[in-house]
Amino acid sequence: MKSIQSVSLKFWLPSLILIAFILLSAGLMVQEKIVWESDLIKTRKEFITYDMASLKREMEKEILTNQPLEARQALLARGVNIEYRVLIATDEQGRIQYATRFELVGQLAVDVLPGFDSQYLSALKHNHKTVVIHNDKHQLITAYFPITLSRRPDAIRAVDTGILFLVYDLSSAQQKIWGQVWQVYWPLLMGALILMILMIIFINRFVDSPMQHLILSTQRFSRGESDGGCCITGNGELASLGTVFNEMMVQLNERLSSLEISNKRYDTIFKTAPDAIITTDERGIIDSFNPVAEKIFLYTAKEVIGKNACMLMTDGYKTNKEGYRDGFSSMVDKKTFGMGRELTGRKKDGSTVELLISVAETGIQGDQCLSAILIDITDRKRVEEELKKYRDNLEDLVSERTTQLETANKELKAFSYSVSHDLRAPLRAIEGFTSILMKQYVAEFDDEGKRLGSVIQKNSRKMSNLIDDLLAFSRMGRTSMHCSRIDMQNLANTVFDEASTPENRQRVRFNIGDLCKVEGDTNMIRQVWINLISNALKFSSNHKQAVISVTCREEGDELIYCIKDNGVGFDMKYKDKLFGVFQRLHSEKEFEGTGVGLAIAQRIILRHGGQIWGEGEKNKGASFYFSLPKKQNCIG
């Protein structure tokens, strides 16, 4: 098949036909020749039989009439024919009596003629039959005819039966046969040849030429010079072959172009990816290595392609359980394929690099290829470490600060504890013993002495109040908050009832609007109301028709409460002093107080994330506002 494939159809098909034609013609010609030959032999035999019989009759007649010369003449006349190679007549003993060649006369035919068979002498003498033998080997026909030669007076028998022997040469006649056959056949051969040439032309024109066209198109296509198809003209199969080929080309072109785009895209990704991309075959032999990989590992692609990927790893990953190296497979458990895994790589210079690797397996026709994407996370690791350090430091710092705070808090607690114990005891002693003095020894004092005693008592009481308020103020900053929803309306009402005396309630009109509910620590907010309402009552105590009104309004995420009185008010230039501890805007003579109430209220409101402020005018009353967020985030 291969030899046929390598020879063009244009040549091998006509050649095949030609060979077949030649063989067929040769066979026909050989057969024709054989037929003609047998015809020739047959006609020659018939001719020889006829001619010999004729000669025999002539010679027997001449001899009978005792004219041997005439008989000889008749024989010689036959001898002119060149095909009569030997013509003799023998007597009964085989001695030649007449011959076309004179030198043979008188000799024994057996001696001088190798083809002569003496057995026919006696055989023919008795049955008088003729024998014609064709010798194919020598292209001869030998003929034996019985002939009555003489009737001589001295003869024992009256009739002497000899043999007329002829050797007929067929060779020239046979040679002529080929010429005759050829003459018959050559027009036939020429016709066949012309037919063949026409066929070659036809094949060339309608089969081979489109085929060549197809071949050239395919070759152009394979070289990538395709212009999108070929045009095969013609009918039937060839035309549909052309159509199918064109369709195939179009499809192939589309696929090729999409493959090309895909390849280009991959190439771009491969070259411009910010991460290292390394691909290996299933044994871990590296087949591609992108520029980032070069940068990370310090190897050039040429240095690593064809080598095992294990060279890029630290010793720990080099061999698997079975002890053979298999590249990335040994580093990454198949279960974790596709997922990131951290590992340590080794650079060309022997230093290590922290990597995040993601491996994917691609199977193409049974070959497993591995693609690995590696990210250099050395910096990230370092930053993580540093962050961890900072975080730990921060935690240390926080715990240190917390400890300091706790210590400070403890100290503060101890301080207020000792204030509450140790400052009270002497006060009690002063107060107690003064009291005893004023009761049991009252007779020994004059009026001034009694007044002085009461001054001591009054001041010690005041000192006690100051201590109580100071402790309360301090406690407000420390106690934890427990938030709940507070019914402000109810709370303000209750506080007013508790803080006011019956006399107050007669003199003061307490107007309370609709107060919104709010979230906060009930005890603390109650303290705010106590302080504000007490203040309002206190500073309007000189007024015969005092009015205290409590209102509420909503502003964004906050609720703003207001308590307004028509009491003595205050000068706005001192508003900054309102909320200071022990800060008072009125004299002790005018109004009693320690100056802690508003400070406590402010501390509570601030702890709730709100604001507190006051507005007032001297002798025209004061308004105190505090805002609270609607939602509390109550932690501590």
């Binding site: 509450s420 009270r424 013993f433 009291s435």
Partner: protein
């Protein structure tokens, strides 16, 4: 010196406070069988009949102990703890009498088994009233365990 039977034990390091208390009780004639001890250790020694009080009879228990919290050596809460964890002394009514209003002390005292917690008023009149009431209640009204 003969060891007497005491009805009231006052544990108070401040001599003036102690004196005021004794005076208050005397007004109602309740200070007959009363002893003032100045620190926690002394108080424990006295009650458990240890140290200089070895000769005392442990079985004679007071009707009430007025115990201050802030005391030298062993503080009031520790004294309270020891007394309340001893089988013999746990039944003695103990009234914490202190200057402190600090919440943790109140809670701790009750948790340890204090029978009452009283803050000494600063004003002498109030103080007088309070001590009088305490004396009357614990010595007269209240029945001592047998």
């Amino acid at each position: 010196m003969e060891i007497e039977q005491y009805e009231i034990i006052i544990v108070e390091d401040n001599a003036y406070d102690a004196e005021l208390m004794v005076r208050s009780l005397k007004e109602k004639n309740l200070a007959n069988q009363l002893i003032v001890l100045e620190d926690g250790e002394d108080a424990l020694d006295f009650i458990f009949c240890r140290g200089k009080y070895t000769a005392r009879n442990l079985s004679s228990l007071p009707k009430v102990i007025f115990l201050d919290i802030k005391l030298p050596k062993v503080d009031g809460l520790e004294v309270l703890r020891q007394l309340k964890s001893n089988e013999q002394t746990r039944t003695i009514p103990i009234v914490i009498v202190t200057s402190s209003k600090e919440d943790p002390d109140i809670e701790t005292a009750y948790k340890l088994g204090a029978n009452s917690y009283v803050v000494k008023p600063v004003e002498f009149d109030d103080f007088l009233k309070t001590i009088n009431q305490l004396g009357l209640y614990w010595l007269v009204v209240n029945e001592k365990p047998r």
